[in-house]
Protein backbone atom coordinates (compact mmCIF):
# COMPACT_ATOMS: atom_id res chain seq x y z
CA UNK A 1 0.00 0.00 0.00
CA UNK A 2 1.49 3.31 -1.09
CA UNK A 3 1.04 6.26 1.16
CA UNK A 4 0.97 9.79 -0.10
CA UNK A 5 1.35 12.12 2.82
CA UNK A 6 2.32 15.39 1.27
CA UNK A 7 3.07 18.84 2.49
CA UNK A 8 2.36 21.81 0.28
CA UNK A 9 6.03 22.44 -0.34
CA UNK A 10 6.47 19.00 -1.86
CA UNK A 11 4.87 20.35 -4.99
CA UNK A 12 6.51 23.73 -5.23
CA UNK A 13 9.75 24.85 -6.75
CA UNK A 14 10.17 27.88 -4.56
CA UNK A 15 10.25 30.33 -7.43
CA UNK A 16 7.44 32.78 -6.79
CA UNK A 17 7.72 36.49 -6.41
CA UNK A 18 5.90 38.89 -4.16
CA UNK A 19 2.46 37.38 -3.72
CA UNK A 20 0.16 37.52 -0.74
CA UNK A 21 -0.34 34.64 1.63
CA UNK A 22 -3.87 33.98 0.40
CA UNK A 23 -2.73 33.86 -3.18
CA UNK A 24 0.20 31.68 -2.23
CA UNK A 25 -2.02 29.32 -0.29
CA UNK A 26 -4.31 29.05 -3.27
CA UNK A 27 -1.40 28.28 -5.54
CA UNK A 28 -0.14 25.63 -3.17
CA UNK A 29 -3.56 24.02 -2.92
CA UNK A 30 -3.77 23.81 -6.69
CA UNK A 31 -0.30 22.29 -6.89
CA UNK A 32 -1.26 19.70 -4.33
CA UNK A 33 -4.43 18.85 -6.22
CA UNK A 34 -2.56 18.50 -9.50
CA UNK A 35 -0.12 16.12 -7.83
CA UNK A 36 -2.78 13.41 -7.76
CA UNK A 37 -1.69 12.53 -11.29
CA UNK A 38 1.55 11.06 -10.03
CA UNK A 39 -0.37 8.87 -7.63
CA UNK A 40 -2.68 7.64 -10.35
CA UNK A 41 0.22 6.90 -12.66
CA UNK A 42 1.99 4.93 -9.93
CA UNK A 43 -1.15 2.93 -9.26
CA UNK A 44 -1.66 2.24 -12.94
CA UNK A 45 1.93 1.08 -13.40
CA UNK A 46 1.58 -1.13 -10.37
CA UNK A 47 -1.48 -2.69 -11.97
CA UNK A 48 0.53 -3.13 -15.19
CA UNK A 49 -2.08 -1.37 -17.24
CA UNK A 50 -1.74 1.00 -20.17
CA UNK A 51 -3.48 4.37 -20.27
CA UNK A 52 -5.73 2.97 -22.94
CA UNK A 53 -6.74 0.01 -20.80
CA UNK A 54 -7.50 2.23 -17.86
CA UNK A 55 -9.47 4.53 -20.12
CA UNK A 56 -11.50 1.66 -21.49
CA UNK A 57 -12.30 0.34 -18.02
CA UNK A 58 -13.58 3.75 -16.98
CA UNK A 59 -15.40 4.70 -20.13
CA UNK A 60 -13.06 7.43 -21.24
CA UNK A 61 -10.05 7.98 -23.52
CA UNK A 62 -6.31 7.65 -23.08
CA UNK A 63 -5.81 11.33 -23.78
CA UNK A 64 -7.86 12.13 -20.72
CA UNK A 65 -5.78 9.80 -18.56
CA UNK A 66 -2.58 11.33 -19.90
CA UNK A 67 -3.74 14.83 -19.09
CA UNK A 68 -4.49 13.88 -15.51
CA UNK A 69 -1.31 11.88 -14.97
CA UNK A 70 0.75 14.82 -16.18
CA UNK A 71 -0.79 17.14 -13.62
CA UNK A 72 -2.91 19.20 -15.96
CA UNK A 73 -6.25 18.77 -14.28
CA UNK A 74 -7.77 19.53 -10.89
CA UNK A 75 -10.03 16.50 -11.00
CA UNK A 76 -13.37 16.05 -9.32
CA UNK A 77 -13.76 13.60 -6.48
CA UNK A 78 -15.86 11.27 -8.62
CA UNK A 79 -13.05 11.10 -11.17
CA UNK A 80 -10.59 10.14 -8.45
CA UNK A 81 -12.82 7.30 -7.30
CA UNK A 82 -13.64 6.20 -10.82
CA UNK A 83 -10.03 5.88 -11.94
CA UNK A 84 -8.61 4.32 -8.80
CA UNK A 85 -11.46 2.13 -7.62
CA UNK A 86 -13.31 1.13 -10.75
CA UNK A 87 -10.39 1.44 -13.13
CA UNK A 88 -7.56 0.08 -11.04
CA UNK A 89 -9.34 -1.89 -8.34
CA UNK A 90 -7.69 0.14 -5.60
CA UNK A 91 -9.29 1.27 -2.42
CA UNK A 92 -9.25 5.00 -1.81
CA UNK A 93 -8.97 5.68 1.89
CA UNK A 94 -9.61 9.24 2.95
CA UNK A 95 -8.91 10.18 6.55
CA UNK A 96 -9.20 13.58 8.14
CA UNK A 97 -6.62 14.13 10.88
Amino acid sequence: MNEYLTTFDDHLDGRYGQIGTAERANFEIKAKAFAIGEIIRDARKEARMTQEQLAERTGTKKSFISRIENGRSDIQLSTLYKLLEIGLGKRVNLTIG
Copy 2:
Protein backbone atom coordinates in the same frame (compact mmCIF):
# COMPACT_ATOMS: atom_id res chain seq x y z
CA MET B 1 -9.37 11.49 14.08
CA ASN B 2 -12.49 10.56 12.18
CA GLU B 3 -12.25 7.85 9.61
CA TYR B 4 -14.50 7.64 6.62
CA LEU B 5 -14.14 4.25 5.08
CA THR B 6 -17.15 3.90 2.87
CA THR B 7 -18.53 1.34 0.56
CA PHE B 8 -20.60 2.38 -2.40
CA ASP B 9 -23.77 1.07 -0.90
CA ASP B 10 -23.43 3.36 2.09
CA HIS B 11 -24.67 6.14 -0.10
CA LEU B 12 -27.46 4.44 -1.94
CA ASP B 13 -31.07 3.93 -1.09
CA GLY B 14 -31.53 0.85 -3.18
CA ARG B 15 -34.29 2.31 -5.29
CA TYR B 16 -33.08 2.10 -8.84
CA GLY B 17 -34.70 0.28 -11.67
CA GLN B 18 -33.22 -1.69 -14.52
CA ILE B 19 -29.93 0.00 -15.23
CA GLY B 20 -26.74 -1.50 -16.54
CA THR B 21 -23.73 -2.19 -14.37
CA ALA B 22 -21.71 0.62 -15.93
CA GLU B 23 -24.49 3.09 -15.33
CA ARG B 24 -24.97 1.81 -11.82
CA ALA B 25 -21.26 2.05 -11.09
CA ASN B 26 -21.27 5.60 -12.34
CA PHE B 27 -24.20 6.47 -10.15
CA GLU B 28 -22.52 4.95 -7.14
CA ILE B 29 -19.30 6.81 -7.80
CA LYS B 30 -21.23 10.05 -7.94
CA ALA B 31 -23.04 9.24 -4.71
CA LYS B 32 -19.75 8.52 -3.01
CA ALA B 33 -18.26 11.78 -4.22
CA PHE B 34 -21.27 13.75 -3.02
CA ALA B 35 -20.94 12.15 0.40
CA ILE B 36 -17.86 14.25 1.12
CA GLY B 37 -20.23 16.98 2.29
CA GLU B 38 -21.07 15.05 5.42
CA ILE B 39 -17.40 14.74 6.24
CA ILE B 40 -16.82 18.44 5.77
CA ARG B 41 -19.79 19.32 7.91
CA ASP B 42 -18.58 17.02 10.69
CA ALA B 43 -15.14 18.59 10.56
CA ARG B 44 -16.58 22.08 10.63
CA LYS B 45 -18.79 21.30 13.61
CA GLU B 46 -15.84 19.77 15.38
CA ALA B 47 -13.94 22.99 14.80
CA ARG B 48 -16.96 24.93 16.14
CA MET B 49 -17.11 27.10 13.09
CA THR B 50 -20.08 28.49 11.18
CA GLN B 51 -20.44 28.09 7.43
CA GLU B 52 -19.80 31.80 7.12
CA GLN B 53 -16.56 31.58 9.09
CA LEU B 54 -15.35 28.68 6.99
CA ALA B 55 -16.32 30.57 3.86
CA GLU B 56 -14.42 33.63 4.96
CA ARG B 57 -11.30 31.64 5.80
CA THR B 58 -11.33 30.08 2.34
CA GLY B 59 -12.31 33.13 0.34
CA THR B 60 -15.77 31.95 -0.63
CA LYS B 61 -19.39 32.31 0.48
CA LYS B 62 -21.61 30.46 2.91
CA SER B 63 -23.99 29.47 0.13
CA PHE B 64 -21.18 27.52 -1.46
CA ILE B 65 -20.36 25.73 1.78
CA SER B 66 -24.00 24.88 2.30
CA ARG B 67 -24.37 23.40 -1.14
CA ILE B 68 -21.35 21.17 -0.64
CA GLU B 69 -22.33 20.04 2.85
CA ASN B 70 -25.74 19.06 1.58
CA GLY B 71 -24.22 16.80 -1.06
CA ARG B 72 -25.06 18.90 -4.09
CA SER B 73 -21.59 19.19 -5.56
CA ASP B 74 -18.95 16.83 -6.90
CA ILE B 75 -16.11 19.03 -5.73
CA GLN B 76 -12.64 19.29 -7.17
CA LEU B 77 -9.66 18.00 -5.25
CA SER B 78 -8.38 21.53 -4.63
CA THR B 79 -11.70 22.42 -3.03
CA LEU B 80 -11.41 19.46 -0.69
CA TYR B 81 -7.95 20.54 0.41
CA LYS B 82 -8.93 24.19 0.64
CA LEU B 83 -11.88 23.62 2.91
CA LEU B 84 -10.38 20.98 5.17
CA GLU B 85 -6.75 22.06 5.39
CA ILE B 86 -6.82 25.82 4.98
CA GLY B 87 -10.33 26.38 6.27
CA LEU B 88 -10.46 23.90 9.12
CA GLY B 89 -6.81 23.18 9.84
CA LYS B 90 -7.30 19.47 9.28
CA ARG B 91 -4.89 17.16 7.59
CA VAL B 92 -6.25 15.29 4.58
CA ASN B 93 -4.63 11.90 4.38
CA LEU B 94 -5.16 10.02 1.15
CA THR B 95 -4.01 6.43 0.95
CA ILE B 96 -4.40 4.02 -1.92
CA GLY B 97 -4.88 0.46 -0.77
